[in-house]
Symmetry: C2
Subunit: 273 residues, 2 copies
Amino acid sequence: MTLHELVAQIKKKQSFLCVGLDTDLSKIPAHLLETEDPIFEFNKAIIDATKEFCVAYKPNTAFYECYGPKGWESLKKTIDYIPKDCLTIADAKRGDIGNTSTYYAKTFFEYLNCDAVTVAPYMGEDSITPFLAFENKWVILLALTSNKGALDFQLLKDENNEELYKKVLRKSSQWGTQNNLMYVVGATRAEEIAEVRAIVPNHFFLVPGIGAQGGSLEDVVQFGWNENCGLLVNSSRGIIYASTGKDFAEKAKNEAQKIQQEMAQILLQKSFI
Amino acid sequence: MTLHELVAQIKKKQSFLCVGLDTDLSKIPAHLLETEDPIFEFNKAIIDATKEFCVAYKPNTAFYECYGPKGWESLKKTIDYIPKDCLTIADAKRGDIGNTSTYYAKTFFEYLNCDAVTVAPYMGEDSITPFLAFENKWVILLALTSNKGALDFQLLKDENNEELYKKVLRKSSQWGTQNNLMYVVGATRAEEIAEVRAIVPNHFFLVPGIGAQGGSLEDVVQFGWNENCGLLVNSSRGIIYASTGKDFAEKAKNEAQKIQQEMAQILLQKSFI
Protein backbone atom coordinates (compact mmCIF):
# COMPACT_ATOMS: atom_id res chain seq x y z
CA MET A 1 0.00 0.00 0.00
CA THR A 2 1.33 3.44 -0.93
CA LEU A 3 1.16 6.62 1.13
CA HIS A 4 -1.38 8.00 -1.32
CA GLU A 5 -3.60 4.93 -0.96
CA LEU A 6 -3.40 5.05 2.83
CA VAL A 7 -4.43 8.71 2.93
CA ALA A 8 -7.30 7.96 0.54
CA GLN A 9 -8.54 5.20 2.88
CA ILE A 10 -8.42 7.54 5.87
CA LYS A 11 -10.58 10.02 3.98
CA LYS A 12 -12.97 7.37 2.69
CA LYS A 13 -13.52 5.63 6.03
CA GLN A 14 -13.22 8.84 8.07
CA SER A 15 -10.94 6.95 10.39
CA PHE A 16 -7.28 6.56 11.30
CA LEU A 17 -7.90 3.61 13.59
CA CYS A 18 -5.68 0.53 13.67
CA VAL A 19 -7.11 -2.55 15.39
CA GLY A 20 -4.50 -4.60 17.25
CA LEU A 21 -5.04 -8.34 16.95
CA ASP A 22 -3.25 -9.45 20.15
CA THR A 23 -5.37 -12.57 20.19
CA ASP A 24 -4.89 -14.48 23.43
CA LEU A 25 -6.52 -17.90 23.87
CA SER A 26 -6.94 -17.20 27.58
CA LYS A 27 -9.05 -14.11 26.84
CA ILE A 28 -11.25 -15.04 23.91
CA PRO A 29 -14.83 -16.29 24.39
CA ALA A 30 -14.95 -19.89 25.62
CA HIS A 31 -17.29 -21.13 22.87
CA LEU A 32 -14.60 -20.44 20.25
CA LEU A 33 -12.15 -22.80 21.92
CA GLU A 34 -14.10 -25.73 20.50
CA THR A 35 -13.45 -24.68 16.89
CA GLU A 36 -10.53 -26.02 14.88
CA ASP A 37 -8.67 -22.70 14.79
CA PRO A 38 -9.99 -20.50 17.63
CA ILE A 39 -7.50 -17.70 16.98
CA PHE A 40 -8.53 -17.38 13.35
CA GLU A 41 -12.25 -17.73 14.15
CA PHE A 42 -11.94 -14.92 16.69
CA ASN A 43 -9.94 -12.69 14.33
CA LYS A 44 -12.35 -13.37 11.45
CA ALA A 45 -15.30 -12.24 13.54
CA ILE A 46 -13.41 -9.17 14.80
CA ILE A 47 -12.35 -8.21 11.27
CA ASP A 48 -15.89 -8.64 9.90
CA ALA A 49 -17.23 -6.48 12.73
CA THR A 50 -14.67 -3.67 12.58
CA LYS A 51 -13.42 -3.42 8.97
CA GLU A 52 -15.81 -0.59 8.20
CA PHE A 53 -14.33 1.55 10.98
CA CYS A 54 -10.57 1.07 10.72
CA VAL A 55 -7.85 1.50 8.11
CA ALA A 56 -5.28 -0.94 9.53
CA TYR A 57 -4.92 -4.21 11.43
CA LYS A 58 -1.92 -5.07 13.55
CA PRO A 59 -1.47 -8.69 14.63
CA ASN A 60 1.30 -9.01 17.22
CA THR A 61 3.41 -12.01 16.25
CA ALA A 62 4.15 -13.03 19.86
CA PHE A 63 0.55 -14.13 20.32
CA TYR A 64 0.78 -16.45 17.31
CA GLU A 65 4.26 -17.90 17.43
CA CYS A 66 3.80 -19.20 20.97
CA TYR A 67 1.64 -21.92 19.38
CA GLY A 68 4.34 -22.95 16.93
CA PRO A 69 3.44 -23.94 13.35
CA LYS A 70 -0.29 -23.87 14.15
CA GLY A 71 0.02 -20.30 15.40
CA TRP A 72 1.80 -19.29 12.20
CA GLU A 73 -1.02 -20.84 10.22
CA SER A 74 -3.54 -18.77 12.19
CA LEU A 75 -1.44 -15.66 11.52
CA LYS A 76 -1.23 -16.34 7.79
CA LYS A 77 -4.96 -17.03 7.52
CA THR A 78 -5.66 -13.84 9.46
CA ILE A 79 -3.51 -11.69 7.22
CA ASP A 80 -5.01 -13.27 4.10
CA TYR A 81 -8.48 -12.51 5.48
CA ILE A 82 -7.85 -8.79 6.15
CA PRO A 83 -9.46 -6.75 3.35
CA LYS A 84 -6.94 -5.42 0.82
CA ASP A 85 -7.99 -1.81 1.47
CA CYS A 86 -6.61 -2.09 5.04
CA LEU A 87 -2.94 -1.74 5.89
CA THR A 88 -1.66 -4.99 7.44
CA ILE A 89 1.03 -4.48 10.05
CA ALA A 90 3.03 -7.38 11.50
CA ASP A 91 3.96 -6.14 14.96
CA ALA A 92 7.12 -8.25 15.16
CA LYS A 93 9.83 -5.84 16.40
CA ARG A 94 12.52 -7.66 14.43
CA GLY A 95 16.02 -6.47 13.52
CA ASP A 96 19.34 -8.25 12.94
CA ILE A 97 22.48 -7.91 10.81
CA GLY A 98 21.84 -7.24 7.12
CA ASN A 99 21.67 -10.75 5.68
CA THR A 100 19.40 -11.88 8.50
CA SER A 101 17.12 -8.84 8.30
CA THR A 102 16.63 -9.70 4.62
CA TYR A 103 15.19 -13.07 5.70
CA TYR A 104 12.90 -11.37 8.20
CA ALA A 105 11.77 -8.97 5.47
CA LYS A 106 11.01 -11.95 3.19
CA THR A 107 9.01 -13.55 5.98
CA PHE A 108 6.77 -10.55 6.53
CA PHE A 109 6.63 -8.97 3.08
CA GLU A 110 6.70 -12.08 0.87
CA TYR A 111 5.58 -15.15 2.80
CA LEU A 112 2.95 -13.35 4.90
CA ASN A 113 2.44 -10.52 2.38
CA CYS A 114 1.99 -7.84 5.05
CA ASP A 115 2.20 -4.17 4.12
CA ALA A 116 4.33 -3.21 7.10
CA VAL A 117 6.47 -4.61 9.89
CA THR A 118 7.66 -3.06 13.14
CA VAL A 119 11.47 -3.01 13.52
CA ALA A 120 13.73 -2.31 16.52
CA PRO A 121 16.56 0.18 15.89
CA TYR A 122 19.32 -0.94 18.31
CA MET A 123 21.50 -2.62 15.65
CA GLY A 124 21.50 0.42 13.34
CA GLU A 125 21.37 1.09 9.62
CA ASP A 126 22.25 -2.30 8.12
CA SER A 127 19.61 -3.96 10.29
CA ILE A 128 16.88 -1.66 8.92
CA THR A 129 17.69 -0.96 5.26
CA PRO A 130 17.01 -4.55 4.07
CA PHE A 131 13.36 -4.01 5.01
CA LEU A 132 13.28 -0.70 3.11
CA ALA A 133 14.30 -2.40 -0.14
CA PHE A 134 10.81 -3.86 -0.74
CA GLU A 135 8.54 -1.82 -3.00
CA ASN A 136 5.30 -0.48 -1.51
CA LYS A 137 6.16 -2.00 1.86
CA TRP A 138 6.71 -0.16 5.12
CA VAL A 139 9.11 -0.24 8.04
CA ILE A 140 7.56 1.03 11.27
CA LEU A 141 10.57 1.78 13.43
CA LEU A 142 10.42 1.90 17.23
CA ALA A 143 11.14 5.48 18.28
CA LEU A 144 9.40 6.31 21.56
CA THR A 145 7.40 3.41 22.95
CA SER A 146 4.41 3.57 25.30
CA ASN A 147 5.80 1.39 28.10
CA LYS A 148 7.60 2.36 31.30
CA GLY A 149 10.83 0.81 30.02
CA ALA A 150 11.02 3.56 27.38
CA LEU A 151 12.61 5.65 30.12
CA ASP A 152 15.56 3.28 30.48
CA PHE A 153 17.31 3.93 27.18
CA GLN A 154 15.09 5.87 24.75
CA LEU A 155 15.12 8.98 26.93
CA LEU A 156 18.84 8.91 27.75
CA LYS A 157 20.45 12.19 26.77
CA ASP A 158 23.60 12.52 24.70
CA GLU A 159 26.43 15.01 25.07
CA ASN A 160 24.29 17.62 23.25
CA ASN A 161 21.43 17.04 25.68
CA GLU A 162 19.38 15.20 23.06
CA GLU A 163 17.51 11.97 23.81
CA LEU A 164 18.33 8.69 22.09
CA TYR A 165 14.91 8.47 20.41
CA LYS A 166 15.61 11.78 18.65
CA LYS A 167 18.90 10.39 17.33
CA VAL A 168 16.99 7.37 16.07
CA LEU A 169 14.57 9.70 14.28
CA ARG A 170 17.27 11.91 12.76
CA LYS A 171 19.46 9.10 11.50
CA SER A 172 16.78 6.72 10.31
CA SER A 173 14.90 9.43 8.43
CA GLN A 174 17.95 9.59 6.16
CA TRP A 175 17.64 5.86 5.41
CA GLY A 176 13.97 5.83 4.43
CA THR A 177 11.36 8.32 3.30
CA GLN A 178 7.80 9.23 4.19
CA ASN A 179 6.83 6.65 1.54
CA ASN A 180 8.35 3.61 3.25
CA LEU A 181 9.11 4.52 6.87
CA MET A 182 6.79 5.21 9.80
CA TYR A 183 7.55 5.46 13.51
CA VAL A 184 6.11 3.93 16.66
CA VAL A 185 5.34 6.84 18.99
CA GLY A 186 3.49 6.02 22.20
CA ALA A 187 0.35 7.96 23.15
CA THR A 188 1.40 7.86 26.79
CA ARG A 189 4.02 10.57 26.16
CA ALA A 190 1.80 13.13 24.49
CA GLU A 191 4.00 16.18 24.83
CA GLU A 192 6.98 14.33 23.42
CA ILE A 193 4.91 13.53 20.33
CA ALA A 194 5.28 17.21 19.41
CA GLU A 195 9.05 16.86 19.60
CA VAL A 196 8.93 13.79 17.39
CA ARG A 197 6.72 15.62 14.89
CA ALA A 198 9.18 18.53 14.77
CA ILE A 199 11.99 16.18 13.71
CA VAL A 200 10.03 14.10 11.21
CA PRO A 201 7.23 16.37 9.93
CA ASN A 202 6.21 14.15 7.02
CA HIS A 203 6.26 10.59 8.35
CA PHE A 204 3.27 8.64 9.61
CA PHE A 205 3.23 7.54 13.27
CA LEU A 206 1.79 4.31 14.58
CA VAL A 207 0.50 5.30 18.01
CA PRO A 208 -0.14 2.64 20.66
CA GLY A 209 -1.19 3.40 24.21
CA ILE A 210 -4.70 4.81 23.78
CA GLY A 211 -7.24 3.37 26.21
CA ALA A 212 -5.91 0.63 28.51
CA GLN A 213 -2.46 2.25 28.67
CA GLY A 214 -3.87 5.71 29.45
CA GLY A 215 -3.09 7.85 26.37
CA SER A 216 -5.67 10.30 24.98
CA LEU A 217 -6.75 10.67 21.35
CA GLU A 218 -7.08 14.47 21.66
CA ASP A 219 -3.50 14.83 22.84
CA VAL A 220 -2.19 12.58 20.09
CA VAL A 221 -3.95 14.67 17.45
CA GLN A 222 -2.93 17.96 19.05
CA PHE A 223 0.74 17.05 19.05
CA GLY A 224 1.10 14.58 16.18
CA TRP A 225 -1.14 15.75 13.33
CA ASN A 226 0.36 16.58 9.94
CA GLU A 227 -1.07 17.52 6.53
CA ASN A 228 -1.61 13.83 5.63
CA CYS A 229 -3.20 13.19 9.04
CA GLY A 230 0.06 11.33 9.74
CA LEU A 231 -1.43 9.15 12.48
CA LEU A 232 -2.52 5.55 12.82
CA VAL A 233 -3.88 5.20 16.32
CA ASN A 234 -3.95 1.64 17.60
CA SER A 235 -6.38 0.07 20.02
CA SER A 236 -6.12 -3.61 20.89
CA ARG A 237 -7.63 -4.75 24.17
CA GLY A 238 -10.23 -1.95 24.33
CA ILE A 239 -11.81 -3.25 21.13
CA ILE A 240 -11.16 -6.96 20.83
CA TYR A 241 -11.89 -7.77 24.48
CA ALA A 242 -14.80 -5.34 24.91
CA SER A 243 -16.83 -8.43 25.80
CA THR A 244 -15.77 -11.98 26.58
CA GLY A 245 -19.23 -13.38 25.82
CA LYS A 246 -20.90 -14.49 22.61
CA ASP A 247 -21.54 -10.83 21.80
CA PHE A 248 -17.78 -10.11 21.56
CA ALA A 249 -17.90 -9.14 17.87
CA GLU A 250 -20.87 -6.82 18.33
CA LYS A 251 -19.23 -5.13 21.31
CA ALA A 252 -15.97 -4.83 19.38
CA LYS A 253 -17.91 -3.21 16.55
CA ASN A 254 -19.46 -0.71 18.98
CA GLU A 255 -16.07 0.21 20.43
CA ALA A 256 -14.45 0.58 17.01
CA GLN A 257 -17.35 2.66 15.77
CA LYS A 258 -17.18 4.91 18.83
CA ILE A 259 -13.51 5.66 18.14
CA GLN A 260 -14.18 6.08 14.41
CA GLN A 261 -16.89 8.65 15.13
CA GLU A 262 -14.53 10.58 17.37
CA MET A 263 -11.93 10.44 14.60
CA ALA A 264 -14.45 11.58 11.97
CA GLN A 265 -15.16 14.67 14.12
CA ILE A 266 -11.45 15.40 14.32
CA LEU A 267 -10.99 14.95 10.56
CA LEU A 268 -13.89 17.35 9.96
CA GLN A 269 -12.51 19.92 12.38
CA LYS A 270 -9.17 19.68 10.61
CA SER A 271 -10.96 20.15 7.24
CA PHE A 272 -9.31 16.90 6.15
CA ILE A 273 -12.62 15.48 4.89
CA MET B 1 21.02 -25.35 31.88
CA THR B 2 22.67 -23.69 34.88
CA LEU B 3 25.89 -21.67 34.93
CA HIS B 4 27.58 -24.52 36.79
CA GLU B 5 26.50 -27.05 34.14
CA LEU B 6 27.69 -24.82 31.31
CA VAL B 7 31.13 -24.38 32.89
CA ALA B 8 31.34 -28.15 33.45
CA GLN B 9 30.61 -28.74 29.74
CA ILE B 10 33.33 -26.28 28.72
CA LYS B 11 35.82 -28.18 30.85
CA LYS B 12 34.63 -31.60 29.66
CA LYS B 13 34.65 -30.77 25.95
CA GLN B 14 37.63 -28.42 26.20
CA SER B 15 35.67 -26.00 24.08
CA PHE B 16 33.67 -22.79 24.31
CA LEU B 17 32.45 -22.99 20.73
CA CYS B 18 28.86 -22.22 19.70
CA VAL B 19 27.80 -23.40 16.24
CA GLY B 20 25.39 -21.03 14.50
CA LEU B 21 22.67 -22.82 12.54
CA ASP B 22 21.86 -20.06 10.02
CA THR B 23 20.58 -22.69 7.64
CA ASP B 24 19.88 -21.19 4.23
CA LEU B 25 18.26 -23.32 1.52
CA SER B 26 20.21 -21.42 -1.15
CA LYS B 27 23.52 -22.46 0.43
CA ILE B 28 23.05 -26.05 1.54
CA PRO B 29 24.18 -28.97 -0.66
CA ALA B 30 21.84 -29.57 -3.60
CA HIS B 31 21.28 -33.26 -2.88
CA LEU B 32 19.52 -32.38 0.40
CA LEU B 33 16.87 -30.34 -1.39
CA GLU B 34 15.23 -33.57 -2.51
CA THR B 35 14.54 -34.68 1.08
CA GLU B 36 11.28 -33.92 2.85
CA ASP B 37 12.81 -31.46 5.32
CA PRO B 38 16.13 -30.23 3.87
CA ILE B 39 16.74 -27.73 6.68
CA PHE B 40 16.40 -30.39 9.36
CA GLU B 41 18.41 -32.96 7.38
CA PHE B 42 21.23 -30.44 7.01
CA ASN B 43 21.13 -29.46 10.69
CA LYS B 44 20.99 -33.09 11.80
CA ALA B 45 24.14 -33.91 9.85
CA ILE B 46 25.88 -30.75 11.13
CA ILE B 47 24.93 -31.53 14.75
CA ASP B 48 26.08 -35.15 14.45
CA ALA B 49 29.39 -33.97 13.00
CA THR B 50 30.11 -31.16 15.44
CA LYS B 51 28.52 -32.05 18.79
CA GLU B 52 31.76 -33.42 20.16
CA PHE B 53 33.49 -30.07 19.62
CA CYS B 54 31.00 -27.44 20.76
CA VAL B 55 29.02 -26.58 23.89
CA ALA B 56 26.20 -24.61 22.27
CA TYR B 57 24.07 -24.35 19.12
CA LYS B 58 22.42 -21.16 17.97
CA PRO B 59 19.72 -21.40 15.30
CA ASN B 60 18.78 -17.95 13.98
CA THR B 61 14.99 -17.80 13.78
CA ALA B 62 14.95 -15.62 10.66
CA PHE B 63 16.19 -18.54 8.55
CA TYR B 64 13.31 -20.73 9.73
CA GLU B 65 10.32 -18.42 9.96
CA CYS B 66 10.70 -17.28 6.35
CA TYR B 67 9.25 -20.71 5.42
CA GLY B 68 6.20 -20.26 7.65
CA PRO B 69 4.79 -23.22 9.62
CA LYS B 70 7.13 -25.66 7.82
CA GLY B 71 10.13 -23.59 8.89
CA TRP B 72 8.93 -23.60 12.50
CA GLU B 73 8.63 -27.37 12.32
CA SER B 74 12.23 -27.59 11.10
CA LEU B 75 13.29 -25.31 13.97
CA LYS B 76 11.46 -27.38 16.58
CA LYS B 77 12.87 -30.65 15.23
CA THR B 78 16.36 -29.12 15.21
CA ILE B 79 16.13 -27.96 18.82
CA ASP B 80 14.73 -31.32 19.92
CA TYR B 81 17.65 -33.02 18.16
CA ILE B 82 20.40 -30.97 19.85
CA PRO B 83 21.98 -33.08 22.63
CA LYS B 84 20.84 -32.05 26.12
CA ASP B 85 24.42 -31.35 27.22
CA CYS B 86 24.59 -28.45 24.72
CA LEU B 87 23.13 -25.01 25.42
CA THR B 88 20.41 -24.22 22.85
CA ILE B 89 20.17 -20.55 21.94
CA ALA B 90 17.29 -19.16 19.87
CA ASP B 91 18.83 -16.16 18.14
CA ALA B 92 15.56 -14.30 17.85
CA LYS B 93 16.33 -10.75 19.04
CA ARG B 94 12.83 -10.31 20.43
CA GLY B 95 11.57 -7.68 22.89
CA ASP B 96 8.19 -5.99 23.45
CA ILE B 97 6.07 -4.59 26.29
CA GLY B 98 5.78 -6.87 29.33
CA ASN B 99 2.68 -8.91 28.52
CA THR B 100 3.93 -9.52 24.97
CA SER B 101 7.47 -10.42 26.05
CA THR B 102 5.92 -13.06 28.30
CA TYR B 103 4.43 -14.68 25.18
CA TYR B 104 7.79 -14.57 23.42
CA ALA B 105 9.40 -16.15 26.48
CA LYS B 106 6.77 -18.92 26.41
CA THR B 107 7.51 -19.50 22.73
CA PHE B 108 11.22 -19.97 23.22
CA PHE B 109 11.42 -21.43 26.73
CA GLU B 110 8.27 -23.58 26.79
CA TYR B 111 7.11 -24.39 23.27
CA LEU B 112 10.60 -24.73 21.77
CA ASN B 113 12.28 -25.57 25.10
CA CYS B 114 15.45 -23.60 24.33
CA ASP B 115 17.88 -22.76 27.11
CA ALA B 116 18.43 -19.19 25.97
CA VAL B 117 17.06 -16.46 23.71
CA THR B 118 18.65 -13.28 22.40
CA VAL B 119 16.74 -10.11 23.32
CA ALA B 120 17.00 -6.49 22.07
CA PRO B 121 17.19 -3.82 24.80
CA TYR B 122 15.60 -0.74 23.19
CA MET B 123 12.26 -1.04 25.06
CA GLY B 124 13.89 -1.28 28.49
CA GLU B 125 13.30 -3.17 31.72
CA ASP B 126 9.72 -4.38 31.35
CA SER B 127 10.54 -5.82 27.91
CA ILE B 128 13.38 -7.93 29.36
CA THR B 129 12.34 -9.04 32.85
CA PRO B 130 9.53 -11.38 31.64
CA PHE B 131 12.24 -13.55 30.03
CA LEU B 132 14.24 -13.55 33.28
CA ALA B 133 11.35 -15.07 35.23
CA PHE B 134 11.92 -18.58 33.81
CA GLU B 135 14.03 -20.91 35.94
CA ASN B 136 17.30 -22.20 34.47
CA LYS B 137 16.71 -20.18 31.30
CA TRP B 138 18.87 -17.40 29.92
CA VAL B 139 18.43 -13.99 28.35
CA ILE B 140 21.28 -13.05 26.03
CA LEU B 141 20.91 -9.29 25.69
CA LEU B 142 22.30 -7.33 22.75
CA ALA B 143 25.02 -5.05 24.09
CA LEU B 144 27.66 -4.36 21.43
CA THR B 145 26.93 -6.11 18.15
CA SER B 146 29.42 -7.12 15.46
CA ASN B 147 27.85 -5.23 12.53
CA LYS B 148 28.65 -1.80 11.12
CA GLY B 149 25.29 -0.47 12.31
CA ALA B 150 26.48 -0.87 15.91
CA LEU B 151 28.10 2.54 15.40
CA ASP B 152 24.78 4.26 14.78
CA PHE B 153 23.28 4.03 18.25
CA GLN B 154 25.22 1.63 20.49
CA LEU B 155 28.32 3.84 20.47
CA LEU B 156 26.51 7.15 20.97
CA LYS B 157 27.89 8.94 24.02
CA ASP B 158 25.79 10.40 26.78
CA GLU B 159 26.28 13.60 28.72
CA ASN B 160 28.89 11.80 30.88
CA ASN B 161 30.78 10.70 27.76
CA GLU B 162 29.63 7.09 28.19
CA GLU B 163 28.38 5.00 25.28
CA LEU B 164 24.82 3.64 25.11
CA TYR B 165 25.96 0.00 25.22
CA LYS B 166 27.61 0.69 28.60
CA LYS B 167 24.33 2.07 29.92
CA VAL B 168 22.62 -1.07 28.67
CA LEU B 169 25.17 -3.17 30.58
CA ARG B 170 24.96 -1.15 33.80
CA LYS B 171 21.17 -1.04 33.96
CA SER B 172 20.40 -4.56 32.76
CA SER B 173 22.93 -6.15 35.10
CA GLN B 174 20.68 -4.95 37.92
CA TRP B 175 17.71 -6.81 36.39
CA GLY B 176 19.38 -10.20 35.98
CA THR B 177 22.37 -12.04 37.38
CA GLN B 178 25.30 -14.03 36.05
CA ASN B 179 22.97 -17.04 36.42
CA ASN B 180 20.33 -15.93 33.93
CA LEU B 181 21.76 -13.08 31.85
CA MET B 182 24.50 -13.09 29.20
CA TYR B 183 25.45 -10.41 26.66
CA VAL B 184 26.04 -10.34 22.92
CA VAL B 185 29.45 -8.73 22.44
CA GLY B 186 30.85 -8.71 18.90
CA ALA B 187 34.36 -10.02 18.22
CA THR B 188 34.87 -7.28 15.66
CA ARG B 189 35.36 -4.69 18.44
CA ALA B 190 38.04 -6.50 20.41
CA GLU B 191 39.30 -3.62 22.49
CA GLU B 192 35.82 -2.65 23.54
CA ILE B 193 35.33 -6.18 24.87
CA ALA B 194 37.69 -5.20 27.69
CA GLU B 195 35.44 -2.27 28.53
CA VAL B 196 32.41 -4.55 28.57
CA ARG B 197 34.24 -7.02 30.82
CA ALA B 198 35.13 -4.23 33.25
CA ILE B 199 31.44 -3.36 33.70
CA VAL B 200 30.08 -6.94 33.90
CA PRO B 201 32.96 -9.06 35.25
CA ASN B 202 30.89 -12.15 35.99
CA HIS B 203 28.51 -12.54 33.06
CA PHE B 204 29.01 -14.82 30.07
CA PHE B 205 29.34 -13.22 26.62
CA LEU B 206 28.03 -14.70 23.39
CA VAL B 207 30.58 -13.52 20.84
CA PRO B 208 29.69 -13.46 17.13
CA GLY B 209 31.99 -12.12 14.45
CA ILE B 210 34.86 -14.63 14.45
CA GLY B 211 35.92 -15.75 10.97
CA ALA B 212 33.79 -14.38 8.11
CA GLN B 213 33.21 -11.08 9.95
CA GLY B 214 36.92 -10.63 10.78
CA GLY B 215 37.18 -11.01 14.57
CA SER B 216 40.04 -12.96 16.17
CA LEU B 217 39.77 -15.64 18.86
CA GLU B 218 43.00 -14.50 20.56
CA ASP B 219 41.69 -10.95 20.96
CA VAL B 220 38.37 -12.14 22.31
CA VAL B 221 40.11 -14.26 24.93
CA GLN B 222 42.62 -11.54 25.78
CA PHE B 223 39.92 -8.98 26.46
CA GLY B 224 36.90 -11.05 27.47
CA TRP B 225 38.11 -13.95 29.62
CA ASN B 226 36.86 -14.33 33.21
CA GLU B 227 37.29 -16.96 35.91
CA ASN B 228 34.43 -19.08 34.45
CA CYS B 229 35.87 -18.68 30.94
CA GLY B 230 32.87 -16.38 30.42
CA LEU B 231 32.88 -16.76 26.64
CA LEU B 232 30.77 -18.59 24.08
CA VAL B 233 32.35 -17.88 20.72
CA ASN B 234 30.04 -18.39 17.78
CA SER B 235 30.91 -19.49 14.29
CA SER B 236 28.18 -20.01 11.70
CA ARG B 237 29.18 -19.79 8.03
CA GLY B 238 32.81 -20.83 8.62
CA ILE B 239 31.65 -24.20 9.92
CA ILE B 240 28.30 -25.05 8.34
CA TYR B 241 29.24 -23.91 4.82
CA ALA B 242 32.85 -25.16 4.88
CA SER B 243 31.84 -27.25 1.88
CA THR B 244 28.75 -27.16 -0.33
CA GLY B 245 29.31 -30.70 -1.58
CA LYS B 246 28.33 -34.11 -0.22
CA ASP B 247 31.25 -33.85 2.21
CA PHE B 248 29.69 -30.82 3.97
CA ALA B 249 29.34 -32.57 7.33
CA GLU B 250 32.89 -33.91 7.30
CA LYS B 251 34.27 -30.48 6.41
CA ALA B 252 32.12 -28.87 9.11
CA LYS B 253 33.53 -31.38 11.57
CA ASN B 254 37.07 -30.48 10.54
CA GLU B 255 36.42 -26.76 10.99
CA ALA B 256 34.73 -27.22 14.36
CA GLN B 257 37.54 -29.48 15.53
CA LYS B 258 40.15 -26.97 14.40
CA ILE B 259 38.53 -24.25 16.52
CA GLN B 260 38.02 -26.64 19.45
CA GLN B 261 41.72 -27.54 19.41
CA GLU B 262 42.66 -23.87 19.44
CA MET B 263 40.26 -23.38 22.35
CA ALA B 264 41.69 -26.39 24.23
CA GLN B 265 45.15 -24.79 23.99
CA ILE B 266 43.76 -21.56 25.41
CA LEU B 267 41.97 -23.38 28.25
CA LEU B 268 45.22 -25.18 29.09
CA GLN B 269 47.24 -21.96 29.03
CA LYS B 270 44.66 -20.40 31.35
CA SER B 271 44.93 -23.47 33.65
CA PHE B 272 41.16 -23.82 33.28
CA ILE B 273 41.44 -27.52 32.45
